[in-house]
Symmetry: C2
DNA sequence: GCTGGTGCCTAACGAACGTTAGGTTGGAGC
DNA sequence: GCTCCAACCTAACGTTCGTTAGGCACCAGC
């Protein structure tokens, strides 16, 4: 049950299967088949199926947090737009780097046990709070349009997370061009004065 | 197996359960329990579990299409920004009106049988094409920033769809204020000239 | 007062589920 | 040459899955 190469392989193929068919839609024997071993053999490496999900979610949560920390570290008190840009860039970076794990983190936390689920939601909320804060500061500074920071942050994060729904690492669009476009779209969404156009 | 009130009730509770636990994570007996009947009794009303999912997805797909049709009908050749605004408003409208069914349509199409899945994806692509088209026109007209219309349309649609991840019909935010904010954020994301800011 | 249909029941089916127990293999270290 | 350990095996467990079969209660229409 310790951290070995094999254990990591299991989480990798499990991420991909969970992403495609969901946690409930993936059986232990499915994961084993992808590794060319028997279902029961998996239990030499993991304590339970739930344990595999938890490892993936927990590790990916840490990656998102670390990326945000690093992004903000070297521009401490820069203006809100630069900080939001850095946050968005870091977020998309984690998603693009390992789309399987990111997808599981984003969608499959519902399948966690109640306690782990609650703990994960708390972390997610703290993470989202960084976005809310910088958006609020930007509004106060007049850089961003006056929109409820909670709604704006939710909009931006789900938009960035939406990448996992369609992005293919070996598709026609390279990771950097998609990343740039996503960051630019996000910045522009919250920028500027209030639009006074009637619908 | 014909369309009755009871059949509709089944789809309603199934939508909510599929939304919360996914298609695979919801058993026929779960659906029955929510209706206070036995699992086997459901089969007096539906042909199969898959059949319930298909009804929900199929009907919701039609709702999105009809809403888009209606939105564009009365402003045929208006300028791109007005058309995109109408499309976004219509989309969010369908989502907010029945968030359970919308959530299932958006996330659970993977659990459809291969043939139905393919058919649904084709419809989705045609729907998304409307967004791509109007975005392309807006870029040509100079109203929108020059971003790959495919990326921009995917960004916008997943952002709007992201509403199902957090919106609660009886939460502190009313449907109209959230809808307005979402439309405004979306319009601004694609509007304007190219941002020439370095990251 | 019989008929038909709707809506539900219990009982059961074979298959698949997550998981446990106990055993075999093969290579590394002393 | 023996020990150890990681990695895998087969067999089986109790449970839950989607689904079928057959039957009963109620109510409307003739």
């Amino acid at each position: 049950m310790v951290e070995t190469t094999r254990r990591r392989e299991i989480e990798d193929v499990a991420s991909e299967l969970f992403r495609e068919h969901g946690y409930s839609g993936t059986s232990v024997r499915d994961i084993a088949r992808a590794l060319d071993i028997q279902g029961a053999s998996l239990y030499a490496h993991v304590a339970s199926k739930q344990d595999v999900l938890w490892s993936i979610v927990d590790r990916t949560a840490s990656q998102f947090e670390a990326a945000a920390d690093a992004a903000l570290a070297d521009l401490g008190d820069a203006e809100p737009m630069a900080r939001l840009r850095a946050l968005a860039l870091a977020h998309v970076g984690v998603v693009v780097e390992d789309i399987g794990r990111a997808s599981v983190f984003i969608h499959e936390w519902r399948s966690l046990s109640p306690e782990r689920r609650a703990r994960t939601l708390t972390r997610r909320d703290a993470y989202e709070q960084r976005f809310r804060d910088v958006i609020r500061e930007g509004i106060v500074a007049g850089t961003f349009a006056p929109i409820d920071p909670t709604v704006a942050a939710a909009y931006l994060l789900t938009a960035l997370n939406g990448l996992v729904a369609w992005y293919q690492p070996d598709g026609r669009l390279g990771p950097s061009s998609v990343t740039d476009a996503y960051v630019e779209l996000s910045i522009r969404a919250v920028s500027g004065a209030a639009a006074d156009e009637a619908s």
